[in-house]
């Protein structure tokens, strides 16, 4: 028999020291909420840089050769940094470091992360990785222009920008980021497993926590593949190894490599890279489920199926990686296997979509700002998911691979869709985080312009791909098979992109203005059931719960339970005081 006593049962024995000084409270803070905000602000800051880089690219594509500072060298640096920042330093950091940190302890009924000191280190290591990454803009030769996939041999040979310092800093920054993520990730997983309050069984957890939890496990398993490939590439660059470098003749010179395999790198990269898609998507799936349920006043439809679908997607995401490599020159027989696994992953993903839509069905839908973003997400995610069925099917991938169809697909599915969830989530939890209400009108304008604007960017982009416009081209020049109207379409896309970027000002104005002068928020403005809305203070203080931890008696989705006056029953309400709901009073 184990003598282990759950953390929640030892709560009164554990001493809680409130941080006293400003520095300990807000800078070297070990409070998960402060760390979450640090992560969030840093991630959004680099995200804005990456947004700016995308506008540089769009300017060149829409209006070629009009600006001296956009040349082939800087263009390839822009695409590389844009992609890497958006995928890793914005989305991964924001969903896990930001929302994960904020929501896991609050939604699980914990006082903090299990390892607060490591949590603090995680943020500072993340900040260091960001600084190293951004420094590469200022070193001789500038940032790397190898594309965010950093494929060797090209990434470390002359002919690619940033071969002097940029690629080195990129690889080092990634390694530091992975260290940061590992410290945070171990924390999130351990906290979910060990620090839930009494009564919070796994099958009562909100889907936000489930999504973040599974995504973190994926990250812990996938990032090591990126770490080793970064280290191996550093060895190839500096120590004369040839892991990824075959014998070649580069610009007429033999650089002295022999016997390595560029495809090996691709396997390692995508063994990380594909789960990475779900590291971003699963937290978004979880969060959007909660937004839909709360604002539709209805339980999430098919909760168990939703949990199992998250787990299934997470598991399958490790056996589909080579669908990024159908035309990479790997053995063509792999195509059969990876096309099959890839299309199978569509089934649990489709189930999630059905269940979101069925959550709306027979609901009582409040179209508040978070809900608008959540529904917008469903639309863009359906679109991006369906185009994935084209690319995942090995045969169809051949004409479309490396074209703008791919760019449109992944921006729809892992750019626009998760970002809509990020916005929805920020609006949704803004009252809890700041204690103030945001401005509803500004929020709605922000939604409409972002949603419609991004669709205007990416829908037509698919069709450029059908025509055969390749991605990662600085300029098309005169290409016989493309009509002149393709350039006009590119100009229109650029104008939409500039418009969408400009409208993000509404978001920041809203946030900053509301934080200072917004209406004081009710502790539970959406009448939600989950624990984070039941804290004694808003915003929650250090330790979250006051003297006693909450005790949970039901799942997170008792909305509109028949026989109860309110249309929600908080998770802490015992069955004696309200209908038992799904759980019938029985703990699973």
């Amino acid at each position: 028999m184990s003598s282990y006593v759950a953390i929640a049962d030892r709560d009164h024995e554990i001493e809680h020291h409130d941080p006293q000084t400003f520095i300990r409270k807000y800078v070297w803070s070990q409070d998960h909420k402060v760390i979450a905000i640090q992560y969030g602000i840093t991630a959004i800051f680099v995200g804005l840089i990456a947004l700016g880089l995308s506008l540089m690219m769009r300017l060149q594509l829409g209006f070629p050769n009009e600006f001296e500072f956009i040349n082939p060298e800087s263009y390839y640096q822009f695409i590389t940094m844009h992609g890497m920042i958006m995928v890793i330093y914005l989305l991964t950091a924001l969903f896990l470091g930001g929302f994960g940190n904020y929501l896991i302890p609050l939604m699980c009924g914990a006082r903090d992360m299990v390892f607060p000191y490591m949590n603090m280190l995680s943020y500072w290591a993340y900040l260091l990785s960001v600084i190293i990454l951004l420094a590469s803009f200022f070193v001789p030769g500038g940032a790397t222009g190898a594309g965010w996939t950093l494929y060797p041999p090209q990434a470390i040979l002359p002919g690619t920008p940033g071969v002097e310092w940029g690629i080195l800093l990129m690889l080092v920054s990634l390694a530091v980021f992975i260290v940061a993520f590992t410290m945070g990730g171990l924390n999130y997983v351990t906290t979910v497993l060990q620090a839930r309050c009494r009564g919070m069984t796994l099958m009562r957890m909100p889907l936000s926590v489930w999504g973040i939890f599974i995504a973190t496990i994926l990250g812990l398993l996938a990032f090591p593949a990126l770490l080793v490939s970064a280290i191996m590439m550093l060895f190839d660059m500096n120590l004369g190894t040839s892991f990824f470098m075959p014998a070649i003749s580069s610009m007429g010179v033999d650089p002295g490599f022999v016997g390595g395999s560029p495809i090996l790198f691709q396997h390692l990269f995508w063994f990380f890279g594909h789960p990475e898609v779900y590291i971003v998507a699963l937290p978004a799936f979880g969060i959007v489920s909660d937004l839909l349920s709360v604002h539709a006043r209805k339980n999430i439809f098919g909760y168990r199926m939703m949990v199992w679908a998250l787990i299934a997607i997470g598991g399958l995401s490790f056996v589909v990686w080579a669908h990024h490599m159908y035309v990479s020159g790997m053995h063509p027989y792999f195509g059969f296997f990876f096309a099959t696994t890839t299309l199978i992953i569509a089934v649990p993903t489709a189930i999630k979509v059905y269940n979101w839509v069925l959550t709306l069905w027979e609901g009582n839908i409040h179209l508040r700002v978070p809900m608008l973003f959540a529904i917008g997400f469903i639309f863009t995610f359906i679109h991006g998911g369906l185009t994935g069925l084209f690319l995942g099917n090995v045969t169809i991938d051949m004409p479309l691979s490396d074209t703008y169809f791919v760019v449109a697909h992944f921006h729809m599915v892992m750019g626009v869709s998760p970002i809509l969830v990020v916005f929805g989530a920020i609006y949704h939890w803004f009252p809890k985080i700041t204690g103030k209400m945001y401005n509803e009108t500004l929020g709605k304008w922000h939604f409409w312009m972002t949603f419609l604007g991004t669709y205007a960017i990416y829908l037509p982009m698919h069709y450029l791909g059908f025509q055969g416009v390749p991605r990662r081209y600085f300029a098309m020049g005169n290409t016989d098979f493309l009509p002149e109207s393709a350039q006009a379409l590119n100009a229109a896309i650029t104008i939409s992109a500039l418009f969408v970027a400009a409208t993000q000002i509404l978001f920041f104005v809203n946030m900053i203005w509301s934080m200072k002068s917004g209406k004081k928020a009710d502790p539970n403005p959406w009448d939600a059931t989950t624990l984070e809305w039941l804290t004694p203070d808003t915003p929650p203080k250090h330790g979250n719960w006051g003297p006693d931890l909450p005790v949970v008696h039901r799942w997170a989705y008792d909305y509109s339970v028949p026989g109860y006056e309110d249309d929600f029953i908080p998770q802490t309400v015992p069955p004696e005081q309200a209908p038992a709901g799904r759980d019938h009073g029985v703990v699973d």
Binding site: G159, P161, S249, S250, F390, V394
Partner: protein
């Protein structure tokens, strides 16, 4: 309510856009209609799902929009419905996957009667090798690659002697005859894509990959590199020309074998001196160039570059544009060198000239020029000495007013627009990024410091 209306409009609008917009698949020119069929099946299945789910969602948003006295239904699960939906999704997925796998099996297995052509990629151009009369390729090795043996063919391998080596980005293939392209890269990853053929595959250094197709339309099809291969990735173009039998045979007959390509024509400077008399009238007795005669300095320029330009003039790739006044003067002069030997002789003579830097005639902001030259330096070298493997001539110490004029010509499309002038085309791409005359002058001011 507005949200539901907008969702419906987006669905309807997307479907309309799909059917009426002018942007759609480039017309097919190969046997791979089965790929298009697979795409169409996928379009139908995913299109139905897209329309159905979104319209259902819009309907739900209208029907169940917030009402004060309404209440949502409490329904945690509906196993039967969930199983049905899972089942239907499974069927839909199988419907799309099955044809995909069948077509892929067809692609993986190359017909035995297929012709074989090797396409070789390097930064940033294409070349090709045909197996020649014996139908067999000679062994190649990256470590054997030199400027004289750009394919790295083993000179001791008898199979390689009759290989046809096409050191030019244009290849010809035969109409209605299956052809397998063996793909090989000398340096980094590249990708072989002809949009009209539908199939594509990466070129991977250190190994060999392939794709196959049967061309069904005669004509010229652009070949694009679609795997990021460095700064000039977007300029790595080629062409695949699909010929009827007679044209194809005639083209093949004109190609050089590997053995022929290894016979180096050594120029004789003494004979060249006599032929140079015509050249010297404008370019100067020591190849020093003359502003008055609009003739650039030749001394010190690489032999391979001079040879290529003389041939470009002879073959009408250069000096034919109506605005290229001075190029049009040069074209008939180039024609006086009637064979390869006489070209080699003249070049041998030019290479005997002393290489004194050309006089500086252009003033500009060299610091600004240095920033601009960063992009140029990838091919022309940081020292401006040119890199033959990248087809980039020397710029340092050469004639500034001439380079400025040529850069302007590239920018204006006066030079580098002939379909077969692939290297000029590349320079056209790069010339386009230079903003104006001032920028050109600044660039020249910097090159003059090299």
């Amino acid at each position: 309510m507005p949200l539901a209306v907008v969702l419906i409009l987006l669905v309807v609008g997307s479907v309309i856009f799909h059917f009426v917009s002018p942007w759609t698949f480039t017309p097919l020119a190969s046997n791979w209609g089965t790929i298009d069929l697979t795409i169409n099946i996928t379009f139908i299945v995913t299109g139905i799902v897209f329309v159905a789910i979104n319209l259902f969602m819009a309907y739900a948003i209208i029907k169940y929009r917030y009402k004060k006295d309404a209440r949502a239904k409490y329904e945690p699960e509906n196993k039967k419905l969930e199983y049905w939906l899972t089942g239907i999704t499974g069927v839909g997925v199988a419907l799309m996957l099955a044809p995909g796998l069948f077509v892929w099996a067809e692609f993986v297995n190359v017909p035995e009667e297929a012709d074989v052509v090797e396409a070789v990629g390097q930064q940033w151009h294409w070349s090709y090798r045909y197996p020649g009369a014996d139908g067999k390729f000679g062994e190649v090795d990256a470590e054997r690659i030199t400027m004289d043996n750009p394919f790295g063919i083993d000179p001791a391998d008898p199979n390689g002697q009759d290989d046809l080596v096409v050191a030019h980005p244009e290849a010809h293939i035969l109409l209605d005859q299956p052809v397998k392209f063996l793909l090989r890269s000398k340096d980094v990853l590249h990708n072989f894509t002809v949009a009209q053929f539908r199939v594509k595959m990466d070129l991977v250094p250190g190994t060999q990959t392939y794709l196959w197709l049967t061309p069904t339309k005669a004509g010229r099809f652009e070949l694009l590199c679609e795997e990021l291969c460095g700064i000039a990735h977007h300029t790595m173009r080629g062409a695949i020309i699909v010929d009827e039998r007679a044209d194809y045979d005639a083209w093949i007959a004109k190609q050089q074998t590997f053995a022929e390509s290894q016979v180096v024509v050594v120029g004789n400077a003494d004979i060249g001196a006599a032929q140079y008399a015509i050249c010297g009238a404008c370019h100067g007795q020591q190849g020093e160039g003359s502003v008055a005669m609009n003739a650039p300095k030749l001394a010190g320029q690489s032999g391979w570059y001079l040879q290529r330009q003389i041939k470009a003039y002879q073959n009408g790739l250069r000096g034919v544009h109506e605005d290229d006044t001075y190029g049009r003067q040069m074209a008939p002069m180039a024609a006086t060198l009637f064979d390869d030997a006489s070209i080699a002789n003249v070049i041998a003579y030019i290479q005997s000239f002393p290489d004194t830097p050309a006089p500086h005639t252009i003033a500009g902001d060299a610091d600004h020029g240095q920033r601009l030259y960063r992009v140029c330096s990838y091919c022309h070298g940081k020292d401006g000495m040119g890199i033959q493997a990248l087809n980039a001539p020397r710029t340092a110490g050469m004639t500034d007013w001439y380079m400025a004029r040529q850069l302007q010509n590239f920018k204006d499309g006066v030079r580098g627009t002939h379909k077969q002038d692939f290297y000029g085309m590349q320079m056209g791409f790069m010339g386009a990024i230079v903003q104006d005359e001032q920028a050109i002058n600044d660039l020249m001011a910097y090159i003059n410091t090299l």
